[in-house]
């Protein structure tokens, strides 16, 4: 039977965490106009903020840093985004991952509605 000592587990966790940090930095640099320096500042702050919403796994962190990169690291403190904070802390949703899922799907929906509304704003189709 293989026994992993706590020191070994800690070392593996550190490796996992460091690798995740680098993956997230690469991700934001690939999809957002951020320099390496900006990514190096954003990712630890985003991970700390994600932890305050009980978000730790890799998939959630990817989605959470997307929100931070688009809206700014203090997105949840802006009055116009109060609904986002409410959603991320919603006690009516058991899973923190699902709360984030609801937030991202709502943002995508709002973007779609805005784009559709913009296309209908032109009066041409009324004629």
């Amino acid at each position: 039977m293989l026994i992993i000592r706590s020191e070994q587990m800690q070392a593996m966790t550190q490796v996992w965490s460091d690798r995740l940090e680098q993956t997230l930095k690469d991700h934001v640099q690939e999809f957002f106009p951020l320099s390496a320096q900006e990514a190096a500042v954003l990712i630890p702050a985003a991970r700390a903020k994600a932890a305050s919403y009980d978000l730790y796994n890799e998939r959630d962190l990817h989605r959470f840093v997307n929100v931070c990169a688009e809206e700014g690291i203090d997105f949840d403190l802006k009055p116009e985004n109060a609904w986002m904070r409410t959603m991320l802390l919603d006690p009516a949703v058991s899973s923190p991952s699902q709360r984030l899922e609801l937030l991202t799907s709502t943002r995508e929906h709002q973007a779609r509605v805005q784009a559709d509304n913009a296309s209908l704003a032109a009066p041409q189709w009324l004629r």
Binding site: M9, Q10, M12, T13, Q14, W16, S17, A51, D54, Y56, N57, E58, D90, P91, A92, V93, S94, S95, S97, Q98, E101, L102, S105, T106, E108, H109, Q110, V113, D116, N117, L120, A121, P123, W125, L126, R127
Partner: protein
Amino acid sequence: MISAAEAAAAARSLSASPVSACQNRFAVEVLMLGEDAAPVAGVALELRQGNACLRSRTSAEGVARFDGLDASTYTLCPCELDLDAWTLEAEQPLSEDQARSAGKANWASATDEDIRGGTLHTAAADDSVDRLALAHGLFPATVWQHPRNDALRKARQSRNVLAQGDALFIPAIRRKTIAVQPKVRYILKRHGVPSRLRLRLLDDFQPLADLAWTLAVPGEATVQGRTDADGVLQAWVSAAASSAVLSYIANGALRELNISLGALLPGRVAGGWRQRLRNLGFACDAEDRQPLSAADQRAIGRFQEYWGLPVTGTADAITIEKIRSVHDGRQAAPPAHGKYASGS
């Protein structure tokens, strides 16, 4: 320093095997649709087994998914909705991919709130029964038809009108549950949501038939359609919406009308008949004043002449009742007489 939660996430990630994660774990999906068959977002749902529960809300696509379930039977309850406000419409098997669940269920202890009673609500200026029913998880008719609202119902006659200060009883929700099983999508219908908006468009007292229109409600998807042969426009709008902009082109010109939703006053109060008279195209003053201004008298006189009433220019009881019945009723076409008659 790695936190305990991060270490747990790392441990899960390091030990994760795609096969073991999916083994014997399934999902239940719920799709909530409104009266217009469009998804309803934000509906709170509770899945229970014994004293344990999972909570979720429907997404913008109207879907809520409960992951990490055993092949067992559970009870599902839209826990913020009254039993009259929803029904189970259909069940569909999920595909194998959809039914399999890699997620973990975050079971919590179920708590039963005390939901007895109800509240007596004093209406604000912009309150409507539909809006209040929506906010309290009720079907509008459940509120309006409640025996404790008998007197108000008699006085106001229409559910669409409340006056500031009206006392409306809002009953407590009564919960109901359904038995559900994993690997199935349950399609629920939310009754009374969204609200139906009905307007008749007239130009120079003639119906604007088969006319293309758009209705823009702040924060919502703009809807579009065409009026029917009688100039009637029907659209679904959120009961929470308080304003909309209606656009159409008449006589070659783009018209944009700002519409207040849910703000119609009772027809027999001064502000109420003014709102209706203006909506009908008779331009009286918006502000209530006594004695009546010359503009008020002209507008009332034109209305009286148009509908064959004695032309007095005063807001007498017969005229006020006629304004209310023409506006709130479904009189399809105006009578053909007087200088406003068709073809004149």
